[in-house]
């Protein structure tokens, strides 16, 4: 496909063909007062060499060689180079979403393998072809729970990623589905089970939690499932850090798992595209939103792949469709599929153990600084932790920047009661030397005169 602009002569030709004299005539139905009477105020056209120069200069403004302890839903992991080599193959890249599904057997097979690996990892029976991201996956899971239970209220833990909760609120606002929030225990950062027990009623469709939660703490999924199920509500567990599944027991007690798979080989790319995952038990198969690749045999008995249950999708069922998701993140899901294939079962476990060990080393090293202490110590966690310092974060963040280190993020942005406490994450790409430098710099509190 060529993307070439039209020449003036071609424009004249096209206008003549439809019997118009000028392009303005095509907009005659828009009152003149609403039409722009001048050219757009944008820079003049640039030559290719100028454009390359512009972007090179802009690229130099990026802070590229910093060590980062940021996490909070977006994680920096090593991406095997084979991922980009594979996804840039034309067969995958140009037919990134299967519009003529059965022609693109390779794409369908990749989606089928993605679904299979996700189902195994999450401990669920079935996973769909992917969603936009973890937050929309969680919101779709809530709508799914409402369809299954015939109820419309949702209880969400405050320890779920604050931005996931915002997306959920957007989804539910115009459906008039009420959401209530349940707090966390100060000592552990875990869901307050007594408050949850009080909040869940016979009208609750879904309880939504995250584990490891936003503070990095692993929730007691079994106990929460018990509370939800006792009232006939479904339990949805969302996971922002997919690598955690290498060491954390999958949430098998959940009815639906809504996960962000960005950690599986997807670059951070300034915030997207990410890769959402929705997995569930077989009994809820027909209420899964989006598409699903299935395996079958063709007329000659050979293995083949098809989009299955698409009779419930909107291109067939219109306004009665299960959901209005009409696409998936096929190319990004392919990145995750390749990542999982490269690492394998053992590799994912080793990667997770590596992250776990480094994060615990970091937590201990940072907490040794004067006036610093860890919060939520009373529960197991994965590779994120919360640090409270006597010194204001802005002060030590500046010292860390000077050492080319980005420290933890201030939780006060989302949790007023935790202002000054910072959320840190250590993945395998941060070196021990960088951790030691961060700890030393944090400890170098200026002595007051």
């Amino acid at each position: 496909m060529r993307y070439l602009p039209k020449s003036p002569a071609e424009r004249e030709q096209m206008l003549a063909a439809i019997g118009a004299h000028a392009i303005d005539e095509l907009f005659a139905s828009i009152p003149a007062v609403y039409r722009l009477q001048r050219d757009l105020d944008i820079p003049r056209q640039q030559a290719e060499s100028e454009i390359i120069g512009y972007f090179k200069a802009a690229g130099q403004k990026n802070a590229t060689d910093y060590a980062s302890f940021l996490g909070a839903g977006a994680y920096r992991h090593h991406r095997p180079v084979v991922i980009d080599a594979m996804v840039q193959r034309g067969e995958f890249l140009t037919s990134y979403t299967p519009y003529q599904a059965e022609i693109t057997q390779g794409t369908l097979q990749a989606i089928f393998e993605f679904q299979t690996m996700i189902a195994e990892l999450t401990g669920m029976d079935v996973a769909n072809a992917s969603m936009y991201d973890g937050s929309t996956g969680a919101a779709e899971a809530v709508l799914m729970a409402a369809r299954i239970t015939g109820r419309h209220k949702t209880v969400v833990a405050r320890s779920v990623h604050p931005e996931y909760r915002e997306v959920l609120a957007t989804y539910l606002r115009f459906r008039e589905m009420p959401v209530s929030e349940v707090g966390y225990v100060a000592a552990t950062g875990r869901v307050d089970l007594a408050a949850l027990e009080a909040a869940v009623t016979e009208e609750t469709a879904a309880v939504l939690i995250q584990s490891p939660n936003f503070f990095g703490t692993i929730e007691d999924v079994a106990a929460i499932a018990e509370i939800a199920h006792r009232k006939g509500a479904l339990l949805i567990v969302t996971i922002a850090e997919a690598v955690s599944l290498g060491v954390v027991k999958p949430p098998v007690e959940a009815d639906i798992v809504a996960m962000e798979a960005q950690s599986f080989g997807v670059a951070l790319s300034y915030g997207g595209p990410f890769c959402g995952v929705l997995a569930t038990k077989e009994q809820y198969l027909r209420q899964i939103p989006g598409r699903l690749a299935g395996q079958t045999v063709d007329a000659n008995g050979y293995r083949g792949f098809v989009l299955t249950l698409s009779t419930r999708e909107q291109h067939i069922r219109r306004e009665k469709a299960t959901s209005n998701i009409c696409t998936n993140q096929a190319l990004v899901a392919l990145m995750a599929t390749i990542f999982l294939t490269v690492y394998g079962k053992e590799g994912i476990r080793e990667l997770a153990e590596h992250n776990l060990a480094k994060a615990h080393y970091t937590a201990k090293a940072l907490a040794a600084a004067p006036g610093a202490k860890l919060l939520f110590e009373g529960a197991p966690r994965f590779h994120e932790f919360v640090l409270k310092t006597d010194e204001l974060p802005e002060a030590w963040q500046k010292r860390l920047f000077d050492e080319k280190i980005v420290g933890g993020v201030d939780l006060g942005r989302w949790y007023p009661e935790l202002a000054g406490a910072t959320l840190w994450c250590t993945t395998e790409v941060v070196t021990r030397e960088q951790i030691d430098t961060a700890a030393k710099t944090l400890a170098a509190v200026p002595v007051e005169a």
Binding site: R286, T311, R312, I316, R317, K320
Partner: protein, 129 residues
């Protein structure tokens, strides 16, 4: 296939037969033939309350998912559990395979339904044959 004369029908292609205040409901031969191979039937729960002309479930074939409309109002007293594993029974014997049984709350609703002759005429007009 002949439409039983002791049944009544809807323009949405459901049939109903009533015995002792309980209506037995299924879909017609015309409906199953139009849908093709049926792979799944989504039914309400026993105890659910239905309203005449409102959807009570759906039937899924390899081609499409179609809503099921209740011919009468009342309470669901039985669902055909066999359809969970053998939904294609509907294709094989549409008029002998019920989907749900409903305790009627308004017996007069029966009178508003089509009899076999009227339904057959309706189907003929709809298909133009």
């Amino acid at each position: 296939m002949a439409y039983p004369t002791n049944y009544r029908y809807t323009k949405e292609h459901e049939w109903i037969t009533v015995d002792g205040g309980v209506g037995t409901i299924g879909i017609t031969d015309y409906a199953q033939n139009s849908l093709g191979d049926i792979v799944y039937v989504d039914v309400p729960k026993v105890g659910d309350t239905l309203t005449a002309n409102q959807t009570f479930g759906s039937v899924e074939s390899v081609k499409a998912v179609s809503d099921l409309y209740s011919p009468v109002s009342g309470e669901v007293v039985e669902v055909n559990e066999l359809l969970k594993t053998e939904p294609d029974k509907i294709n094989a014997a549409p008029h002998d395979t019920f989907i749900i049984k409903v305790k009627l709350s308004d017996a007069a609703e029966w009178d508003a339904l089509l009899d076999a002759a009227a339904y057959e005429k309706f189907v003929t007009e709809e298909t133009g044959n």
